[in-house]
């Protein structure tokens, strides 16, 4: 619908540009101030019609990154510097320069598939109300039109419109997760953020949910930012992936390249540690734990756990530099061997 009004040059522009974004949790309790650098100097662009996977361990700052991108931040989280710019159908939107404009764009242009489906759907109200609450005011339709639009949308996603009359507890976890996807896509947004939508699901259901997200994305031509720590999910769904470690983007590139030729030792580890069916050779686990972001290691934040670390890594932070197919932040990029 919107695509028709966009003229050719703007179509090729990326839908999201994030520049040197820094977002810190700044706390001041009993005179002791603490700063947690959850997003530290992230620059990335997301193109139209692509699935961009963000991978990283818990507490690596990946959830904070997408919250900051969506402009959904509350103190003590603050954006210290940098910018987040969306381009919806030719109209520019700077999230932190004009926060009010962002409000109008939410759900209509930018929506969110959340992890805990039970937290999205109100347990004491029918599912229909969730659609009314989230989407109705953004669509500008009459109640009858809205209703038929929602029902048509559910049918296209392979869901029975009768689920609208059920309460969340009557539905299975997989069905609820599919409903949150329907909810996030009913306005046909150009930009969808999916935060670990498959983590709590059984393997069979997980595949169905992934297939559904891919279907919707292809039909709408939207951009999806897909966040999960599970690299096999990225392998299945992402066009490009960005690896986040301790609040920094350490590697980015097309999924096939990142899996075939990881440049950063952390990426290589994430991939080689995955168990494979039919293979029982011993897989190495990465020692140590993700760093504490209020007191991160000096230099490259990965150096205490890195098998390739040299003295330079301990003092100098490697910049994110462009390579043939992507970007990588490592002094010894490309030297890692894939098991």
């Amino acid at each position: 619908m919107l695509a028709a009004t966009i003229d050719a040059p703007t179509r090729t522009r990326p839908v999201l540009e994030v520049e040197n974004l820094k977002a810190y949790y700044q706390m001041n309790y009993f005179g002791v101030s603490r700063e947690v650098r959850a997003v530290d100097d992230v620059t990335l662009t997301i193109n139209r019609n692509e699935i961009y996977g963000i991978a990283g361990e818990s507490s690596s700052g990946k959830s904070t990154l997408i919250k900051t991108i969506a402009g959904a931040i509350t103190p003590p989280l603050r954006v210290v510097s940098g910018s987040v710019k969306f381009d919806f159908g030719g109209s520019q939107l700077d999230v932190y320069a004009r926060p009010k404009a962002m409000k109008a764009a939410r759900w209509r242009h930018l929506s969110y598939i959340m992890q805990g489906s039970m937290n999205v759907l109100n347990p004491v109200r029918k599912v229909r109300h969730a659609f009314d609450d989230f989407a109705f005011r953004h669509m500008g339709l009459s109640p009858a039109q809205f209703r038929s639009r929602v029902e048509g949308h559910l049918k296209r996603l392979g869901l029975d419109p009768r689920v609208l009359e059920s309460y969340p507890h009557q539905l299975s976890g997989g069905m609820r997760q599919r409903l949150t996807i329907a909810l996030a896509t009913v306005c046909e947004p150009e930009f969808i953020i999916a935060d670990e939508p498959t983590t709590a699901l059984d393997v069979l259901v997980q595949q169905d949910v992934l297939a559904l997200i891919k279907d919707v994305q292809q039909r709408l031509g939207s951009s999806v930012v897909f966040v999960t720590h599970d690299m096999t999910v990225h392998a299945a769904i992402a066009d490009r992936i960005g690896i986040v470690y301790a609040g920094r983007l350490v590697e980015e590139g097309p999924t096939d390249d990142a899996f075939a030729r990881p440049q950063h030792p952390y990426t290589a580890h994430l991939i080689s540690s995955l168990p494979r069916l039919g293979d029982v050779s011993r897989r190495k686990a990465l020692p140590g734990k993700p760093p504490n972001l209020s007191d991160p290691p000096s230099g490259c934040r990965f150096h205490p756990r890195c098998p390739l670390a040299i003295d330079r890594c301990k003092v100098e932070n490697p910049p994110l530099v462009s390579r043939a197919t992507g970007r990588v932040a490592c002094w010894r990029a490309g030297e890692v061997e894939v098991a």
Partner: protein, 281 residues
């Protein structure tokens, strides 16, 4: 052969619903298997949510009594352990590990408290002797008492917490560890440290492990034997490699196909297959 654990046609029926719409739910419909005492192994129970795998675990631990059938641990019927002394002796030999390490430990209690109380209860030791027992157990999981003492659960990662849970289970010197989905709440990158640890426990300490999971990839990686459960029925059982390489039932094949391979081309293909299978229905 002496038998460590033996389940004989164990069933469990739950009664659900209110006064007027009471119905019965058969969570487990006849499970029979045995673990050998002389040959420690990793015995895996695979199934989706609602397949009855957790119910079996709870019955083995003595938290639920079977509706019919018997569970014997070293010749003793688990549901007949009446006296406190016999229950403690049983608990010392069969230890649990739970799914979510963030919930298993109280965030307001230091982690060593759990370890000390386990040592006091099962070994009857305090002070320096307890320190020694804790340090020994923690060394088995690649940690030390100095690293853990005085720490709270929020200070450690999920993988580390789960290792501490394993160390706690090791303190009484168990013969059997029942691990219910021990890695599903742990980051994919840290999972292998737990899974490798189970292998080490089996090989070095001779502990048998009942590993409950829905993830076939790690099941294939560590199991000696596996049973696959579906809606309370054991639909396949046998040597792990034999069963998982060549599944006989449609459901186990679907489970196997649902494992996404860690390779973009193959993973996309798997997803594509699932999409066409779903749209064909």
């Amino acid at each position: 052969m002496s038998v460590l654990l033996e389940l004989q046609s164990v069933t469990k029926t739950f009664s659900i619903g209110g006064f007027f719409d009471r119905s019965k739910l058969q969570a487990v419909k006849g499970a029979t298997f045995a673990l050998d005492d002389t040959r420690p192994e990793i015995f895996t129970i695979v199934g989706e949510s609602g397949s009855g795998k957790t119910t079996i675990a709870r019955m083995i631990l003595g938290n639920e009594t079977p509706t019919t059938g018997t569970i014997r641990f070293m010749g003793e019927d688990v549901s007949q352990l009446r006296s406190r002394r016999r229950r403690l002796a049983f608990m010392a030999r069969v230890q649990p590990i739970f799914q979510n390490p963030f919930e298993a430990f109280n965030p307001l209690t230091t982690l060593d408290y759990y370890l000390y109380s386990t040592a006091r209860r099962f070994l009857g030791v305090r002070g320096a002797a307890a320190d020694e027992a804790l340090d020994k157990a923690l060394n088995h999981v690649g940690l030390s008492l100095a690293e853990v003492k005085g720490r709270y659960s929020h200070e450690l990662s999920g993988g580390q917490l789960q290792r501490i849970a394993v160390a706690r289970a090791l303190i009484p010197g168990p013969k059997l560890i029942v691990a219910d989905e021990p890695v599903s709440m742990v980051d994919a990158s840290l999972r292998m440290s737990i899974v490798n640890l189970f292998r080490t426990l089996r090989d070095d300490l001779g502990v048998s492990i009942i590993y409950i999971t829905h993830d076939l990839a790690t099941a294939y990686y560590i199991s000696d034997r596996v049973i696959i459960m579906h809606k309370g029925d054991v639909i396949e059982a046998g040597e792990a490699r034999a069963v998982l390489d060549n599944p006989q039932q449609a459901y186990s094949l679907a489970l196997k196909n649902a494992v996404l391979p860690p390779d973009p081309t193959a993973a996309r293909l798997a997803l594509e297959r699932r999409r066409s299978a779903v749209s064909a229905v």
